[in-house]
Each structure stands twice: as structure tokens, then as C-alpha cells.
């Protein structure tokens, strides 16, 4: 069996899936870092306070919203 990816569709599919997984993990890692800095302002407790929890649950979506606003506004200013 030829193990080189070019001739092996199963290997190609696998590499593609792994690449997707890596990209998703990196997106989560980056957002977690940003949201942690934004939301966890004091020393970590044995659980999140209600405001920390609320901040974290909203953070990722608001970051995505902001991203859209930025893209739209940079497109309209040529």
C-alpha cells in the first residue's frame, strides 16, 4: 500500500480533518485567553462568580460580533 498522501484519499481526508481540528482548537485557545483576561479580573476562586460566568458565556459571541463590525467598517472605508 502506498502511504504517501497524494495517492491515498483516506490519508488526505484524515489530514484535512486533523487540520480542521487544529484550527478549531486554536480559535478556542485564543478566545479563551482573551476572555480570561477580560472576565477573570481577580484571583481565581473555587468557582466562577456569577458575573465572571456571565462574562465568559457572552465573551466569545461578542468577540465574533465585533469582528464582523471591524471587517464591515474596514471594507466601507476604502
Amino acid at each position: 500500500m502506498d502511504p504517501s498522501a497524494a495517492n491515498n484519499p483516506e490519508l488526505l481526508r484524515f489530514l484535512n480533518e486533523e487540520q480542521q481540528r487544529v484550527m478549531m482548537n486554536e480559535a478556542v485557545a485564543k478566545l479563551t485567553s482573551v476572555c480570561w483576561d477580560k472576565c477573570v479580573t481577580s484571583a481565581p476562586g473555587s468557582k466562577f462568580s456569577p458575573s465572571e460566568y456571565s462574562c465568559l458565556t457572552h465573551c466569545a459571541k461578542r468577540y465574533a460580533d465585533m469582528s464582523m463590525v471591524i471587517i464591515r467598517s474596514t471594507q466601507s472605508k476604502k
Binding site: 502511504p3 498522501a5 491515498n8 486533523e18 478566545l31 479563551t32 473555587s46 466569545a60
Partner: protein, 90 residues
């Protein structure tokens, strides 16, 4: 993540005698390792920041428990972010 640059233990042409299954396992193991290393490095930064405000001559028990809570909370935060990114609310 760049699949074209060699990483330790993985050289081009390594596919040569190896079955695709073994190769896939090797790739997954290396990716998991890289992910773990990146996570640990992040945890170091965040928890040093939050828990060790003034480095003393040794780690106090307060600092140690803070670090432990920090790791737990950060993992929890990762789950929260991951769920909010990949679940659609109707």
C-alpha cells in the same frame, strides 16, 4: 499548524516504511503533544499573573492553592468558550 515543516521525530520520507494507520496515529500523537505544551505554557502565564503577585523566597500555600484553582478555572473557561462557539442557540 504547519504540516510542511519537519518537527522532531518526524522527517520527510518517514512515510516510507510505515502503514497509513501508523502514520495517522503518529500525527495525532504529535498534535496532542503540541496542544498540551501550548496549554501548559498558557497556564503558566495566566496563573503566574493572577497568583504570584510578589515572588517570595518560596511558594506559599496560598499561592499553591491559587495555582490549583487557576488551572481548574482556566480549563472550565476553555469549556465555556468552546461550547459558546460551537453550539447554536435557537
Amino acid at each position: 499548524m504547519d504540516f510542511s515543516s519537519p518537527s522532531p521525530g518526524m522527517s520527510p520520507g518517514m512515510g516510507g516504511g510505515q502503514s497509513p494507520e501508523a502514520l495517522m496515529e503518529q500525527v495525532q500523537a504529535q498534535l496532542a503533544q503540541a496542544y498540551a505544551e501550548e496549554l501548559i505554557e498558557t497556564l503558566r502565564g495566566k496563573c503566574f499573573d493572577k497568583c504570584i503577585t510578589k515572588p517570595g523566597s518560596s511558594l506559599s500555600s496560598g499561592e499553591s492553592s491559587c495555582i490549583s484553582r487557576c488551572v481548574d478555572r482556566y480549563m472550565e473557561a476553555t469549556g465555556i468558550i468552546s461550547r459558546s462557539l460551537f453550539t447554536q442557540k435557537r
